[in-house]
Amino acid sequence: MTSLSNSLPADARTPSLHQVGGEVSDFFALLKPRVMVLVIFTALVGMVVSHVHVQPVIATISLLMIAVGAGASGCLNMWWDADIDAVMTRTAKRPIPDGRIAPGEALAFGLVLSAGSVMVLGLAANWLAAGLLAFTIVFYAVIYSMWLKRATPQNIVIGGAAGALPPIIGQAAVSGSVGIESIVLFLIIFIWTPPHFWALALIKSGEYAKAGIPMMPNVAGPQSTRRQIVGYSLLLFPIGLAPVALGFGGLLYAVTGVIGGLGMLAFSLQVFRQREGEGEKRAALGMFGFSILYLFLLFSALLAEQGLGLFRAVLS
């Protein structure tokens, strides 16, 4: 047998990078850490608005498992999308297309973390929360990544449900049920997602076209996308203020919601007006950046009111 291996060229006997395995940081990058931070934050707000006393240890472990589950779905997404990630400059340096981690390793990593996070959340909190986490992972990895993303320009609209679910999982984890509070938070993130992503898609439409992804600007055109961005921003304004109408958003939240909602509208109108050159790019990036700030401030206001006792009722 030695004759066969010895007759191979030196390169063929050299273990590839895949056989040796990637760096720890590469595996961490597969979890999309920035998305995990957002998931932890929104799930925490979902827990806090529930007003249920829960063991801090159980709440912390639940939050951790929700984050790990979200990371696992991100990992499975990167495994499935490695071919399109390789042709887009924004994603070409991700661990799989860059050759730092083998696809099989990423798949195994994602599946183990998915199963582990669901099991531990079920044991720590309850099986409703665990079921919702499992649904979120399957929705993101299978429904969004494997089907919607390459099939329809409504991909991020429907797929946005996966990113909007963490507050519902958070509430389910601490209360054992799903209430109107987390459903409203779900709706805010769900309606926020299209203008947020389409702002980026407008300036990256060439990249998406190269990868064959039917994003809205590539299918319906930039003009229609700009109109829809304004439409969703209009819709987001009243939905963003729903917590005030329902009594769990106070004065601080109301002020943040009004100013932030007007900001979203102003940025969306800028996107609508600026249609060429540097102005278009600046407007789209402005919209993308402000939308992140808007969601962060809105949820921070709720956290401050419900978690730190800053709640002052607006409606009696």
């Binding site: 030695t2 010895n6 040796v20 395995g21 760096e23 720890v24 595996f27 720590a124």
Partner: protein, 57 residues
């Protein structure tokens, strides 16, 4: 005489960089396993509370 480890005839020794990368991964896996043990221990205490010490034998 030092023992010769069984080795796949097609394999070669890892470079120092590859060895270090593999070592870091092994440490990370050990830390994750340790964290899991800690999570299950703390979870058990948090869920069962002081009763865990006074259960009937």
């Amino acid at each position: 005489m030092s023992p010769v480890p069984d080795q796949d005839p097609g394999s070669r020794a890892l470079t120092p960089d590859e060895t270090q990368r593999r070592r870091k991964r092994s440490i990370a896996i050990a830390l994750v396993l340790g964290a899991l043990v800690a999570i299950f221990y703390v979870l058990t205490i948090a869920k069962l509370g002081p009763q865990i010490m006074s259960r009937p034998l």
